[in-house]
């Protein structure tokens, strides 16, 4: 490979003394081609990241990929076009552009995750990021070709640069699905690829030294800064998504946040999404309607009066969706300890669609407090209470299933009021299930245990409770105005919920007391068998 003759203007511009030869001989030229290869790989990975992320969080991968690729290619064109306006040292601009790509591209996945979690305008963020990266990447090759054009003849230049560019694309398209995403996850991949770009920039300050202004300290300083940021990102990537979590959940994580109370994770598969609290599935969008119809409608069918409804837990708003189907509901009060949960329910577009924008209903009042503490001071009565707490896997949650809790609840239950409680699986955790029933009875309530089949959970258990005998189940009828909207329950299905098969028959258990939380111990031992 011929080392090309020095170029006098560049030499002078670079501040070299006259008469001294300027040579790009600080490294073999093929290293520059490696540069091209890396740049090309990185550029394609950013495109794939944006496409993948968009299809994760929005679904419909054909549309998402098509749009992302289109915008990206178009932005490449903008970049190429803009390169024509760049005068002065292409080498310096190249290093600057590399640093910019490193920063914007490297942070693209975490920024988009955050945008998805916190902003309504995810599409705007997505296409802004894609366009920006595309434009910057579009600047890279023309600049590099301008740098190299002095050293190669045009025919060699075009053939070699484009060849390495396409090799890079192949490398990226193989690495992305086979190594990067499974091993690093989207966020870390983004940071790692950004880091590669930043290293190219740093290396460039050395490789292109003869073509750069004398003082490159500033450039190198910025390069180190960007590298530092990205390395920190790699280390802290778990703040956005936890790879172990993705492996645990088996699907890409599209939202993750650790609130003061719990770890909230939303994952996404091809057509569905799922909410996990502390690693426990709360709903699967494909079959949550079975769970929430079973949680809400039996109580509404058994209740005489249903004007004032209290929901404890249920910050995802899905129980509210079922409740607001009833025109006779005048007020609904939702008590969920975690503001992060109701923010998710009211802000995450996926969830807002699923809960039919329940948080926008004027009948709703939201309270963020521990339900046990809140019940101590409540001074009004509710006709219906829907309890949708997480399973009693800890003492802090287990206390919400104690006789003490239910006695407090009784104080705000109207004389004819009805309570519905989700109470884990009567098949997988029968002692836990019957323990909740027993505890309600111990608190002085009549109970009607029932179950529904929710494929993503398995056989799931609930119990209705009331101060007085509500009569036989066969007298309970769904409200006709609501029945037509349901996907799971009809009147005969409603009766069927209360017919428990033999393998779910009642077990003799202790009630769950404030001073002896037997339920947490039952739950732990029973679910240990299935994990």
């Amino acid at each position: 490979m011929a080392i090309v003759q020095p170029v006098q203007p560049a030499l002078e511009q670079a501040g070299w003394g006259k008469g001294e030869p300027l040579r790009l001989d600080r490294a073999p030229l093929f290293l520059l081609y490696i540069n091209v290869l890396i740049i090309a790989s990185c550029g394609l990975v950013y495109e794939l990241l944006a496409g993948t992320l968009a299809s994760y969080v929005l679904g419909d991968s054909v549309t998402q990929f098509s749009l992302v690729i289109g915008f990206y290619l178009f932005a490449l064109g903008i970049g190429a076009w803009l390169s024509g306006f760049i005068v002065g040292s292409p080498a310096r601009v190249f290093v600057e552009v590399e640093l910019a790509v490193a920063l914007v591209g490297g942070c693209s996945a975490p920024v988009l995750f955050l945008a998805f979690g916190y902003l309504r305008g995810f599409h705007f963020a997505l296409f802004s990021v894609v366009t920006l990266i595309g434009t910057l990447v579009g600047l890279e090759l023309p600049l590099l070709m301008r740098i190299l054009k002095e050293h190669l003849d045009f025919r060699d230049l075009v053939s070699r640069v484009l060849a390495f560019d396409y090799i890079g694309a192949l490398a990226a398209s193989l690495l992305f699905p086979l190594f990067l995403v499974p091993q690093l996850g989207l966020v870390r991949t983004s940071f790692v690829v950004g880091l590669l770009n930043a290293l190219v920039a740093l290396w460039g300050t050395h490789l292109l030294r003869p073509l750069l202004p004398r003082r490159v300290g500033g450039l190198q300083g910025r390069a180190f800064l960007v590298i530092g940021l990205l390395v920190a990102g790699i280390i802290k990537a778990d703040l956005f998504t936890d790879l172990a979590e993705e492996q645990q959940f088996g699907n890409p994580v599209v939202f993750a946040r650790t609130s003061q109370y719990q770890r909230i994770v939303v994952t996404r598969s091809e057509s569905d999404f799922h909410l996990f609290l502390n690693g426990n599935l709360q709903f699967h969008s494909a079959d949550e309607y079975r769970y929430h119809e079973a949680l809400v409608h039996p109580a509404f069918s058994a209740a005489i009066d249903r004007r004032h409804v209290l929901v404890l837990g249920g910050g995802d708003g899905l129980a509210l969706r079922e409740i607001f189907r009833y025109p006779d509901v005048e007020s609904a009060t939702l008590v969920d300890i975690d503001p992060a949960m109701t923010e998710l329910g009211s802000g995450l577009p996926l969830l807002r669609t699923l809960n039919a924008d329940a948080f926008g209903d004027r009948r709703l009042r939201v309270i963020h407090e521990d339900a046990l503490i809140w019940l101590e001071q409540v001074d009004r009565k509710y006709d219906l209470v829907i309890i949708d707490f997480p399973d009693p896997s800890s003492f802090a949650v287990g206390k919400l299933y104690t006789t003490t809790f239910y006695r407090r609840l009784l104080r705000c239950l109207a004389p004819d009021g009805v309570v519905a409680v989700q109470c884990t699986s009567p098949l997988s955790a029968p002692r836990s299930f019957w323990c909740v029933v027993k505890t309600l009875e111990n608190a002085g309530l009549h109970t009607w245990p029932y179950r529904a089949s929710v494929p993503s959970f398995g056989e799931w258990g609930f119990v209705l409770a009331a101060r007085r005998d509500l009569g036989t189940v066969s007298n309970w009828r769904l409200d006709e105005r609501v029945a037509s909207q349901l996907k799971f329950l009809d009147n005969s299905g409603l009766q069927g919920l209360f017919e428990l098969p033999l393998d779910m028959r009642r077990l003799e258990v202790e009630p769950n007391r404030w001073n002896n939380q037997i339920l947490v111990r039952y739950y732990e031992s029973e679910w240990a068998r299935w994990k």
């Binding site: 109370y261 503490i373 003492f395 802090a396 404030w514 001073n515």
Partner: protein, 559 residues
């Protein structure tokens, strides 16, 4: 002992002004009334004339649980004309609690085992105070569930982790076997009855047996008893010593075998059963103090430094009546006209500095004996020898106000959290019982100073400034919570110089204790030190007894 040298090192350092802190949070040493109490040491009780005299049936001196129980019982017996004088600004003695925006919290005693069915008076109190909701047909008490200690009750920190319960799982089978053997010994005492059918260990303790077999246990220390019974396991030793430190502020060497066994056997109703469940409240036994205080109204006067009590001649006095003949020592002008049959009590109010006097038919001295000696005329001369056998354990208690909870990795937070390698007893969490599991809370840290002799312990406390105390507290708690310091918004320290009577060998069945229980003229005594064990049940029983005896005397008086 290692422990002793470690804390002695701390004491030496704080004494010589070594630098600890500064800490980024505020706090104070509570216990200002200590200085007022020390005024009694100077012999100036009768230097000034009494400004005003009041007449009542009964004066109660001391507003701890014994005094409050006396007042409650006097009310029950229809003797409503009494006044209760308390040195501190708050009632409750070592059962008092404090309150912040976040939670109420204890400053001392913080739980009460549910009483056995025989302890009728205490059951009645708990019923009135709302801890017992009703009595079933068979007479058994139904407790308000949320006043029973919330599960999980206890956890123990060792090997870098918290573990459920106080019985660690990392002990050998041999050691566990030894623990089982100890439980069998305890069960044998639970089942034991004397010829009169009395249990050996029962609350209140005066209803227990005085059989020689039981008395013999008081002659030896718990250490000796364990030696005799071949209990050598460090684990068993730790468990039993923890119980002694917790309830008495004493080590195994300092505790009589009677008291050591009392801790375990008095809480178990029948052999093989678990100990009685515990009642607790965010403010600890301060909840019951508040109940008592609500009944008292303005008959309770706080901030009253009682400077003198003088028993006068009493025709009906059947007691030993010591000092009756030397009764004429009040200053001229303060003597009432005519014959006076009762007790005079003089106290200075912290609010206005005025010296006030009360003339009463009867008085109940519901304070510790070492104070009785200083304020009851001629008491020291009559009973000084006996009183000097009463020794009291000093304690350090700290309340840590936290902005948030320390991070938990292993077994979750319990009500009582014990650090095995710590020098204190660990901490209780004020918000545990109220069910607040997130955000700000208050931790109460307990540290009996049993590594010292009592007077050395008190000297150590006095030498400790706030920084030194905080250092002691944090050094212990940071074993388990390395992230604690930045969470603290305030840390207050209580110096209890005389927190608990010490049940040292020989004290319980010795003559001194029996002698000091007898009334002195018309002064009755009510305090846990008369039992030798500082438990709520004992204070309560003494208070009730003293009030009943006064009522009996009154009845005798009426023809």
């Amino acid at each position: 002992m290692l422990k002793a040298s470690a804390i002695a090192g701390t004491a030496a350092c704080s004494g010589c002004g070594s630098r600890v802190g500064p800490f980024s949070f505020p706090g104070a040493i509570i216990g200002a009334a200590r200085d007022r109490g020390h005024e009694l040491r100077g012999d100036r009780r009768l230097d000034e004339p009494v400004a005003e005299w009041h007449t009542v049936d009964v004066v109660i001196v001391g507003g701890g649980v014994a005094g409050l129980a006396s007042a409650w019982t006097l009310d029950k017996l229809g003797l409503r004309d009494f006044v209760l004088l308390e040195l501190e600004e708050a009632l409750g003695g070592t059962s008092r609690g404090g309150r912040s925006d976040v939670s109420a919290y204890p400053w001392g005693a913080h739980y009460l085992p549910t009483p056995m069915p025989e302890n009728i008076e205490l059951l009645r109190l708990l019923h009135e105070a709302g801890a017992i909701e009703q009595f079933d047909a068979d007479g058994s008490a139904v407790y308000a569930e949320e006043q029973l200690c919330r599960d999980p009750e206890e956890r123990l920190f060792y090997d870098g982790q918290w573990h459920e319960d106080l019985l660690p799982s990392d002990v050998s089978d041999r050691e566990r076997g030894e623990w089982d053997r100890f439980r069998i010994e305890v069960d044998a005492w639970v089942a034991w009855r004397d010829p009169q059918g009395r249990r050996a260990f029962v609350l209140p303790s005066d209803r227990g047996s005085d059989d020689p077999k039981v008395a013999a246990l008081d002659a030896i220390s718990m250490t000796e008893w364990m030696e005799q019974r071949r209990f050598h396991s460090p684990f068993v030793r730790w468990e039993i010593e923890y119980a002694c430190r917790d309830d008495y502020g004493t080590t195994l060497d300092q505790t009589s075998a009677w008291a050591g066994l009392f801790y375990f056997a008095s809480r178990i109703r029948n052999p093989g059963e678990s100990p009685q469940p515990l009642l607790t409240w965010p403010e600890g036994n301060g909840r019951l103090v508040r109940f008592f205080a609500d009944q008292l109204g303005n008959r309770a006067r706080t901030g009253m430094l009682v400077t003198a009590m003088r028993p006068a001649k009493s025709a009906t006095s059947g007691g030993n009546g010591g000092g009756v003949d030397e009764a004429a020592s009040l200053k001229p002008g303060s003597m009432p006209e005519g014959p006076f049959d009762g007790v005079e009590v003089v106290a200075r109010s912290a609010a206005d500095g005025i010296l006030r006097g009360w003339r009463a038919r009867h008085a109940i001295f519901a304070g510790p004996q070492f104070i009785a000696r200083r304020i009851i005329e001629n008491y020291d001369r009559e009973r000084g020898d006996a009183v000097r056998q009463f020794t009291y354990a000093p304690w350090l208690v700290a309340n840590l106000h936290l902005r948030d909870r320390p991070v938990e990795h292993s077994f979750p937070v319990a009500w009582d959290n014990v650090i095995r390698d710590g020098q204190g007893l660990g901490y209780v969490v004020a918000t545990h019982q109220s069910g607040r599991d997130h955000g700000p809370t208050v931790l109460t840290y307990y540290r009996p100073l049993c590594e010292f002799t009592p007077s050395e312990g008190r000297e150590w406390l006095e030498s400790c400034d706030w920084n030194a105390c905080v250092d002691v507290v944090l050094r212990d708690l940071e074993i388990a919570h390395s992230d604690l310091r930045p969470l603290i918004v305030r840390l207050d320290v209580m110096h209890w110089g005389h927190a608990m009577i010490r049940p040292v060998p020989g004290f319980r069945f010795g003559t001194a204790r029996a002698r000091c229980q007898e009334r002195f003229g018309n002064i009755q005594f009510a305090h846990t030190d008369l039992s030798g064990i500082a438990l709520f049940e004992e204070a309560f029983a003494h208070g009730c007894r003293a009030a009943r005896e006064i009522a009996d005397q009154q009845r005798e008086r009426v023809p």
